[in-house]
């Protein structure tokens, strides 16, 4: 394992790592505050939320495992931890779930020697493909949020706090970006730049910041005239410090919930983009491409259903856990909002 390879890989996986580090940081930092400790205590009582967090934990572990790779020898492609564990020898074409492997090393093991979820058209193991798709999904969701959230936060805070012409400009910007149909903007950006995951994420980020920005602006407006902000102002605290230290922490609950939902929306969006032909480049392992391929696979005889079912199942599980977690967080942070 050379250091250079590891490093280049780190750059490629930067979005994932940054997002995960951010999540951990927010988690650790927020444990120190009373409000959040209370919220976590309430979250701990919610069994459904615990299951959702468990699923998200498993997903994140697999994604992290897929981020670190090494080169076994100079001529080989770098392999990630996931490759080492889950990659199976290719079959010639489709094989049904639980079919035994027929090529490569023949091992007599009830799990290893079988394609648990079958193989796809080029004979690649579906378990492996589904796990590879997790990383794509996390990058799409995480990286796009990484683009969208800072824009939304900065614009929303500035507009809500300063009002007047700043507010006018920001409102103008999000009306303009919000008025253009987002699929159009995405297709245009992807066609302009390139069909690569980074540009897809930038495009998704640029179209999805408007809703969050509106939320942040509204919340900031509410907090601007509260007593604690006035007190800080009277004490001569600078505007920047008021925004960063006083208003932003108060917005965090609603922002975190909104971002969780945004993440799940973006993960779903990827399938539409793949269908329209502006999604991930082929061969990069994405659930959207697997689902898209199912259009032809379902018409085969006998029917090939496992690609569609397992790819959408994995996606469903991810989105569902995120939605459940967002609901649980909302209930935990503000019990008054709890829907009876």
């Amino acid at each position: 394992m050379t250091l250079a390879v590891l490093f280049s890989n780190l750059i490629a996986n930067l979005p994932v790592i940054v997002v995960l580090v951010l999540v951990i940081l927010i988690f650790v930092r927020s444990r120190r505050e009373v409000l959040w400790r209370e919220a976590y205590r309430r979250l701990g009582k919610n069994n459904l939320a615990k299951v959702a967090m468990g699923i998200l934990g498993i997903y994140s572990t697999l994604v992290i495992m897929d981020c670190f790779s090494w080169q076994a020898s100079r001529n080989e492609e770098p392999r990630t931890v996931v490759d080492a564990i889950f990659q199976k020898p290719f079959e010639r074409t489709y094989s049904a779930p639980l079919a035994p492997t027929t090529s490569g090393e023949v091992m007599d093991h009830p799990l290893v020697s079988k394609h648990l979820l079958g193989t796809d058209s080029v004979g690649e193991d579906v378990v492996y493909k589904v796990i590879k798709g997790m990383r794509t999904s996390f990058i799409i969701g995480g990286f796009s949020c990484l683009v969208a959230v800072p824009i939304a936060l900065v614009f929303g805070l500035l507009a809500g706090y300063f009002g007047k012409w700043v507010d006018d400009i920001v409102q103008f910007l999000y009306t303009v970006f919000g008025s253009v149909p987002d699929i159009l903007l995405i297709i245009a950006i992807v066609m302009m730049l390139d069909k690569s995951i980074v540009y897809v994420c930038v495009a998704l980020g640029l179209t999805s910041w408007t809703g969050l920005c509106r939320l942040v602006r509204g919340e900031t407006l509410k907090h601007r005239d509260r007593e604690y902000v006035r007190a800080a102002k009277a004490l001569g605290v600078s505007d920047f410090r008021i925004l960063a230290k006083h208003i932003l922490p108060n917005l965090m609950p609603s922002v975190i919930i909104a971002v969780t939902l945004l993440f799940s929306t973006l993960a779903l969006y990827e399938t539409i983009l793949s269908y329209l032909g502006v999604g991930m480049p082929p061969g990069s392992g994405s659930w959207g491409n697997m689902i898209d391929a199912a259009r032809d696979e379902l018409t085969r005889n006998p029917m090939v259903w496992w690609n569609l079912v397992f790819a959408s199942g994995a996606l469903l599980l991810l989105v569902l856990s995120l939605n459940v977690l967002a609901d649980a967080l909302r209930d935990a942070i503000d019990p008054r909002l709890r829907t009876q």
Partner: protein
Amino acid sequence: MLRYLIRRVLYMIPTLIGVSLLTFVLFFGIFSPETIARRNLSAKNASQEQIQTWEHEHGFDKTKLELFEVHMKSLLGFQFGKSDSKSKEVIWDRIREGALPSFELASLAFFFTLGCGLALAVVVAYLRGTYIDTLTMALAVISMSIPIVVYVIGLQYFFGKMLKYGPVAGYEPGFSGLRFMILPVMVSLVSGTGYYVRLYRTFLLDETGQDYVRTARAKGVAENLVLFKHVLKNAMIPVITTTVSVIPSLILGNLVLESFFGIPGLGNYLIGAIKGQDFAVVRAMVYLGTLLYIFGLLLTDVLYAVLDPRVRLQ
């Protein structure tokens, strides 16, 4: 009221200019006129003269600034001109042609989804706290978590291959063509209802927490009378205001559903134009889309003031 309206309409102008600026930058950032010309000329190796004549015919042989001027003038005057890729086709004609199928699909999908969502929300709010409530809300979340593409593929398969029920995609005008609409409407029903149920349920439950509801109950009004006479009426305000902003965009149709089911509406037209790098069509459609969107926002605000006497427009 009138002054407010006038001011809002005046506010629309900078937004429209901004959007057309954005489309201009996007499209001329993406494709140079030469690429557009090469693509639309259909000759394999277009000569330099051919390209130049094409650029001249379509008015691309100018500086960016002049181009922008022409672009803005044609948009603000609604003179969309002719398509870049099919030089015979007048854009307005195509829009008129596509508006009907688009509107047909979008309005059917809209009313069914909304109706189901509202009905379910009322039922669920009435039965709040019971197992039916929990189950429906769980189903709503699950149905929202499945990608729409899976619904499309699944329903097409189920109806087309298993039930051998007629057409799985396509369009026919007129009353007999309604059978083409069943599948797309069903897709939007199963994928969209969950969202509306959740939204409307919150509105309804928000109202049930109000003081006047407690008063009504204290007076001894029957529970379903409270729900239908007091709560539902007041909950209709947010329901209507969140819904009405969608209405103008019904004309432009549903980009995704139309291209999934091969319905020759405006959404399909737009996606085809983007893929074919037809700048003239794209800018016309985006401009119209923005106009309708902003109009929808305006409508929402006005209706909000009309329905809720506490809100004053200034």
